[in-house]
Every structure is written in C-alpha cells, then in structure tokens.
Symmetry: C3
C-alpha cells in the first residue's frame, strides 16, 4: 500500500477537477463572463473545504494556500470555455467523477476534522460540508435554491461516507485506509445507483396542501 | 437563583427548537426534500451562532460540536414533517417562542463575545448576528431577500437586547443575571408588541421615485 | 512621506464610505427598511474584509472591532436615505470613488495577508476577496447573481493590484509604499478606462448554443 498516498492525491485532484468542471459549465450556461466562470469553478471545487478549514481552525484554508487547487480550477474553466460541446456530451463521465469527488471529499473532510482533534459530530457534519458546501455556494451565487436540498440522494451519500470514516476509528485492528476505501465505495455506489434508478428522498409538496 | 443555569439551558434549547421549527416549516413549503428540510432547520437554529463563533475564535463552533442542537433540529424537522397541519395552526405560539428565541440568542451571543474578551462593539454586533444570522441564511438558501431586512421590528429588538447586556456590565453592583433578564424581557416585549400593533421600521419605496 | 499613513487612513475611510453608499443606495432601491439599508451598507463596506480576516486568522475581524467602519456606514446610510436624489445624481463621482475603494481594498487586503505570514497565493486571492467580497455579499442578500461575475472589468483590476503588491515584495531596494501607490494607480486607471470605453471580459452566451 505504498502507493495509497499517491492514490489519494490523484482522487483529490480528480474531485477538484470534476467539481470545477461542473461549476464552470453551470456558470457558462448562466452567461457569466470569463472571471465569473473561474470564480464559480473555484468556489465549487474549494468552497466546502474552505468552510471546513475555518470551522476546524486550519488557517489559512488549504483551498487558498495550495496552488494546485487554483491551477486545476483554471484548467477546468479553460476546458469548459474552449471545449463546451465536448464537455456537455461528457455528461455521463462527469456524473461518475462527480460521485467519486463527492465520496472522496466526504472521506477526507471527516478525516481532517478528526486529525484536528474534533469530536465525532463535528467530523461527520464537516465531512458532509466539505462534500456538498461548494455546490451549495454555487447555487447561492447563481441565485437558485440549492439543488441538493431539493432532490436526489447526494448529501445523504456523503453523510454515510463520513459516518463510516468516523465510527470506523472505533473498530480495533482495522486500518484507516481500509475504512476509507469502504466508505468511498459505498458512497460512490449509492450515488451512482440513485442516479441510475432515480431514487429521491421524500418531499412533501402534495401533502402540505391539506 | 441556583436554578438560573438550568433556566438558561431550557431557554437556549427552546430558542433552538422554535428556530428549527420555523426553518423546517419554510423549507417544507418550498418543496425541499427530507434532507433539505433538516439542513434548513439546523441552519436557522445554529447558523447565527456558528458565524459568531468563527468571528470570536471559538473553534469548533458550538452548533457543530454540541449534539443537543442537532438533536433538537432533528426533532423539530420530524414535527414539521409529521404534524404539519398542527404546526401551521400553532402560528401564534410559534411567534411567541420565536420572540423568546430571538431575545435569548441576542443575550447569549453578546455574553459569549464578551467572555472571549472582545470589545463592546464586537459584542453588540455579534449578539445581533447570533439572533438573526440563522434567519438570514435560511432566506439566502431559499432564494429570497431576507425578510428581516424588509419589515418588522426584529433585528432592532435584538440590537437593543445585546446593547443592554454589554452596557449593563458597566453598572456597578448589578449582577449579569439581572441585566440579562432585563434585556430578555425588553427585547421579547418589544418584538411581541411590534407584532401586535404591526409596527414597522420606515422604508422609502415611495419617496425613492422622486 | 511622513503623511503616508494618514493618506492610507483617508483612502481606507473613503473606500468604506463609497462602498457603503453604493450598498445603501441598492438596498433603498429594493425597498428594504431602515435597518436593512444599514445592514447592506455595512456588508458592502466590511464584508470582504471580514471574510479575509477569518481566512488569515485575524480574530476578531477589524470590520467588527473598529468603530470607525460602523460609523462611516451609518453616515453613508443616512445620506442615502436623506439625500437620495443628490446621491443618485452623484453617479459619476461615486463610480470614481468606488474605483478608488476597489484599488485600495485590493492593496490593503494583500498587504494584511502578507503581514500575517501567508504565502503569495493566499495574499493575491484575499486581496481580491477584500475588494469584491462585499459587493458579492450585497448581491447575494438582494437575491441576484453578483454583477461582478457577469460583466465589466472589476475583479480583474483588483487581481492585478494585489498581484503587483505581492510580487513587488520580491523587487529589492523598492519600498512597499512605492509599490502600493503603483498598484493603486494601475488598478484605479484600468477600472476607470474600462468604464469609459465599456470594456468587458468575454462571455460565451451565443457560442454556448451550438
């Protein structure tokens, strides 16, 4: 497992990249200018992590201090601008990588919160915030109700992943890496299955009229 | 006054509960799903306190670290989902408890900021932020202009309460508890009176056309 | 150059004032009440700096702790309410002072981040956040897509100013004050020229339909 660190790094950059692509695409569809597209791409990719870092006291936030995140966001914005028709046609792969990014950010968010000595509730909540915070900020900036609050199993998958990471630390003789991979696989599978079978959480629009 | 600590705790949970109910009800009316309702309920109940804790350097924010807030938000969301017609009919009691929550959050927000050694302006401003921040975040997430910026005496009542707490510390020989109760009563009365008599702060829609 | 500190202070207050005026005017046009106008004015003037201070670990944020910012915001709100026709007619001077405020906040934001020991990327990004963050928060609270993400050369000018400040520290034998004035002049000129000649960054609305 000597390659695990590199594997994580690859996944982290992948998650950043696909989140940035999704942000840049949404920003372009709303007619934002070059700078607006880059801001939204960077916000989706790094916004959740920045909120997490402020809450756990990791100053400055990694999303601001590490140039790799900015570079990946720039690259994703360039792709969304220069190769928009291809990006739009890549809808299926983007959804797959987005599910991977969601899973990874939930796992690393929970792990980083634990590493800073916070309790299990903080770690679980901030795992979810890391995974979905960027998407919520994107929708707030684009002036719409965050889509993850309305439909689809998205944040719930992140909640399950960060819970597995946190409660997995109580299981003796099992490595953190093993638990993380389990959490990644379950979260990613749940997200992809919910997309495929169109699973939604219940809402209460009809019954609220009585 | 041996029971005062318990009384505060009861009021704090009451404030959390009614704020969560108001958030869950608003989220349900907008057609959010199960997770969205819980997120909005938790945001209204804890959002203001989390912003305050970030600004005073109380890391991690109590709203994330203390399980009672999450549990109360979950309970309130359950009520808003399962007993929606009853919650809607309870409009008057909810407004009363909301006024109580507003008052209490303003008082405790100002007190916590002072306890962390910050100056009087920080304490007054963050008292108001604690009291109204959650409601502002709710309206931002639900994609509307925050209602407290548009009408009714709401934030002003919180401003008065946190000012009383802060300037009360300069009066010799008067206990903090006594000052806090004065601030609570005045803020809560002002809010309820403004609801009853439909007091509003002036706005300038007509005159802005000249 | 003994007067430079006073000059900076004058510019800082000027920037705060014009940003507060722009916020109060926008809030009044949306029909917010007295309190709402003050909140938006204060948010535009201090919001970017508060986010910067949270990210660099300057607790409490200067915008909350220094009474001058609040006083200037109050004064600007009073003007926007009492002398609205005059403020509207002052459109050209306001745009000029807004460009000055933008330039100054970008410069001081980058300088403060460097002074707290953060790296060049953090300083550049937070220079931009200081300059444009308040305007973004204003638009989010007023429920519209931030105008700076859609058109005009605004954030780009701030980016250039904060980059000059940061990279200028690597030039030997040149004082920080000199670099800051260069950055101020370039940013302010670029902003004013872009207003005059109606320069915009490209957006991609038409080409996105293919």
């Amino acid at each position: 497992m000597i390659k695990l660190q590199e594997f994580y790094f690859f996944l982290d950059m992948t998650g950043t990249f696909v989140f940035a692509i999704s942000g840049a695409t949404a920003a372009r569809q709303r007619g934002l200018d070059l700078f607006g597209i880059l801001v939204i791409a960077f916000t989706v990719a790094c916004g959740g992590g920045i909120i997490r870092d402020l809450c756990i006291g990791s100053i400055p936030p990694a999303g601001l201090a590490n140039w790799r995140y900015l570079l990946v966001s720039l690259f994703a914005s360039g792709l969304a601008i220069g190769f928009f028709p291809i990006v739009q046609r890549m809808n299926r792969p983007v959804l797959f990588f987005d599910a991977l990014g969601l899973s990874l950010f939930a796992v690393t968010g929970a792990q980083k919160s634990l590493a800073y000595g916070h309790n299990i509730q903080v770690a679980i909540l901030l795992g979810v915030v890391t995974a979905v915070g960027g998407g919520v900020l994107r929708d707030v900036l684009l002036n719409r109700v965050p889509v993850i609050l309305q439909k689809e199993i998205y944040a719930l998958a992140a909640l399950i992943a960060s819970s597995i990471v946190v409660f997995g630390t109580f299981i003796p003789d099992v490595s953190t890496d093993f638990i993380s991979i389990i959490a990644l696989v379950i979260c990613c599978s749940l997200r992809l299955l919910s997309l495929y079978y169109k699973w939604n959480l219940p809402n209460f629009i009809d019954s609220s009229k009585d």
